[in-house]
């Protein structure tokens, strides 16, 4: 039965108006944008849509900001002066400021052999062949965050890493914001040919009450080895919708670590497809929530082929009236025999008024698999607190050590010292502020 809804929220009205205004000026095929926008034309998803039950976007997104202007020299100079996020991490940078790729701040002319990069706006304007591969990772186009990105995206990059190319420095996509009151949409597609190996970092930062929507897609061929890190430290008044969609070829190895510390409302979603045999993927995340903030991590891991190993470990530490949502689903298709999937999610409640919603799910159609999921939610372990106090640590210090350990435990496997230190610093900053 079709649901009739005649009353639009202010945000929904503004989105429709913004789309009418933007579609004429944005590059690329307007029909692609219009089809995408159809998915949200009737309104934003709300709590009666299961996928959005705990993150009622219709209620949480009270207004829709107008599309950001192309950043000017002043904005670029200001960002340069302020320093890029993860500045100590030696990387090849792609800076997407307010949704526009900024060559002056990026390392486009320093790309190593075997790496090709096309700014997305150029590609859209010239119907570049790589455009055809957008969406190949298989994430649902009618997902609201993805639909909005497809409808409004202004710029980003298409990156092609050739067969066997191993990068000694990470690619770092910096999604930055200048000013406030705008919406910025950026999209990055990374195509990794057979045997390619590299690290990909995406960082999201910026002051002000902006709205950001990023869509990073990775098409990883056979025998690739990719490590992905996402750091989200947007303004505490921002709205962040971030999608990562990945498809993996045979024997690929994929690691992802997502650290979410910023924004008033954030939904980060991951769609991961095991499209070949013998893949290993390891997904981890930490959400640091305080104040009245809302952080959602929604994960869909789809084992299509046999012999895949997936590990998911997601943690949230909550203070104040913070709310964290974890929805994690592992699908094991009938052909995906010998799949080994383990998902764990933990919420550490540091306040009586915080809320954590944990929804791990397994959907298994194969009969020879090992799958498990677990979820825990609780305060600090008093036995551990006593152990530390019995060694002379005052209660406050003992608790601080345990909270830090809960969070930073996840960083142990980060090999890049500068990156690990930067992530730890973000956690320490939250631990001190607890907001």
């Amino acid at each position: 039965m079709t649901e009739l809804r005649t009353i639009r929220t202010a945000a929904e009205t503004a989105l429709a108006e913004a789309f009418e205004a933007a579609r004429a000026v944005l590059p690329g095929d307007p029909e692609v944008r219009a089809r995408a926008f159809d998915a949200v034309a009737q309104g934003l998803p709300h709590r009666r849509v299961e996928e959005w039950k705990y993150t009622d976007l219709r209620a949480l997104m009270r207004e829709a900001r107008p599309l950001a202007q192309v950043p000017g020299e002043k904005d670029i100079a200001a960002l340069r002066a302020a320093g890029l996020p993860l500045g100590d991490v030696d990387a090849l940078r792609l800076v997407v400021l307010n949704g526009t790729l900024v060559p002056e701040l990026s390392d486009l002319d320093r790309l190593p052999a075997g790496v090709e990069l096309v700014p997305l706006a150029n590609a859209l304007a010239t119907a570049h062949p790589l455009l055809k591969r957008l969406g190949e990772a298989g994430a649902p186009g009618d997902n609201a965050a993805i639909a909005l990105n497809t409808a409004f995206v202004s710029d980003g990059a298409l990156v092609h890493v050739s067969e066997g190319v191993k990068l000694d420095r990470p690619l770092h996509v910096v999604f930055a914001q200048a000013g406030a009151g705008h919406a910025a949409y950026g999209r990055v597609l990374v195509v990794a040919d057979k045997g390619a190996a590299f690290d990909l970092i995406e960082s999201h930062a910026g002051e002000g009450a902006h709205q950001t929507n990023s869509y990073v897609e990775i098409l990883a061929g056979d025998d690739t080895a990719i490590r992905h890190t996402k750091l989200q430290t947007e303004s505490l008044s921002a709205l962040h919708l971030g999608t990562l969609a990945v498809t993996l070829g045979a024997r690929a190895k994929f690691d992802s670590l997502a650290v979410a510390r910023g924004s008033a409302v954030a939904r980060q979603q991951v769609f991961l497809t095991f499209a070949g045999e013998g893949i290993e993927a390891n997904l981890r995340g930490v959400s640091l929530v305080g104040g009245k903030r809302h952080l959602d991590t929604t994960l869909l891991v789809d084992h299509v082929k046999p012999g895949g190993i997936s590990r998911e470990q997601f943690k949230a530490a909550l203070e104040g009236e913070g709310r964290s949502v974890f929805q994690g689903k592992i699908i094991v298709r009938q052909a995906a025999q010998k799949t080994d999937g383990r998902m764990m999610t933990k919420a550490l409640m540091l306040s009586d008024s915080a809320e954590a919603d944990l929804k791990p799910e397994l959907e298994i159609y194969a009969d020879d698999v090992q799958c498990a999921h677990g979820a825990t939610c609780g305060a600090l372990d008093e036995e551990q607190v006593f152990y530390l106090m019995a060694r002379g640590l005052p209660r406050a210090e003992a608790e601080a050590i345990l909270v830090a350990a809960f969070v930073e435990d996840v960083f142990d496997t980060v090999e890049d010292d500068a990156l690990r230190e930067a992530l730890t610093a973000v956690a320490e900053e939250w631990l001190a502020a607890r907001n």
């Binding site: 551990q384 002379g392 005052p394 350990a405 930073e408």
Partner: protein, 250 residues
């Protein structure tokens, strides 16, 4: 050193009384063993002395060198020199063993108004003590007690004791889960720390440990009280006859 007088304590949650008028004097420099059947309240005594919050003292008292222990938080007792070697040392993922050792040592020094140790001085100190206990550097790099074997955990407890130099060390069933080699290492570690200004309360179910850590006095605990005290020969008698007499008599 340690003076316990008519101590009554109950579990806060359910009000069940565990310690029922326990009295005990441990003079400076002595090693006292407490033996007793399961459920006699041995571990509760160690927790109450160390300051665990799950217990409520309803009567009696306990002092260390004349200072009222029961008024202090667990960390304050530690700074005053109380050390509890846990029967089941806790695993704390994410906290490096070295980080933990340094934090505890410096917290106690701060509480006593002493300067914090420099990192080189701390490292030297740890290395010396760890070598003596057969604890390798690799183990110290791991998160606290995570993935440690039973023996490694107990050796790590003794390492902490050696670093913190307590006045009163309470060893709660430190022998449980140890094979004979590990037991000897742990006992040697304890014996090295025996000193005229340091006392030990060794809680154990079995006499075996007392072959290696020879006590000055052995107490038998039953149903929350000390029911008999004697020399080391009392432990041998218990080993031979079991605790049946005390279960029935008490």
């Amino acid at each position: 050193m340690l003076s316990i007088d008519n101590l009554h304590a109950r579990i806060e949650d359910n009000g069940q009384e565990i310690l029922k008028g326990l009295s005990l004097e441990v003079p400076a420099g002595q090693v006292h063993a407490i033996m007793g059947p399961n459920g006699s309240g041995k571990s509760t005594l160690s927790y109450v002395l160390a300051g665990k919050e799950d217990y409520e003292v309803t009567e009696g008292g306990a002092t260390l060198n004349g200072e009222d222990l029961l008024e202090m938080e667990a960390d304050e007792r530690a700074a005053k020199g109380v050390f509890l070697a846990f029967q089941y040392p806790l695993e704390i993922p994410g906290v490096g063993t070295m980080t933990f050792l340094k934090a505890t040592l410096n917290a106690q020094r701060r509480a006593r108004g002493e300067d914090e140790l420099s990192t080189p001085a701390f490292m030297k100190l740890v290395r010396e003590q760890a070598d003596a206990l057969g604890i390798n550097q690799e183990m110290l790099k791991r998160p606290l007690n995570v993935g440690f074997s039973g023996g490694e955990k107990k050796r790590n407890e003794i390492l902490q004791m050696a670093l913190l130099q307590p006045k009163l060390a309470i060893l709660d069933e430190t022998d449980s889960g140890l094979d004979i080699d590990a037991l000897k290492i742990v006992a040697d570690g304890v014996n090295r720390l025996r000193a005229p200004d340091r006392s030990f309360l060794v809680i154990t179910h079995y006499q075996r440990l007392l072959n290696y850590i020879v006590p000055d006095v052995v107490h038998v605990m039953s149903k929350g009280r000390i029911v008999r005290s004697g020399g080391p020969e009392l432990a041998l008698e218990l080993e031979a006859r079991g605790y049946a007499d005390y279960n029935e008599a008490a």
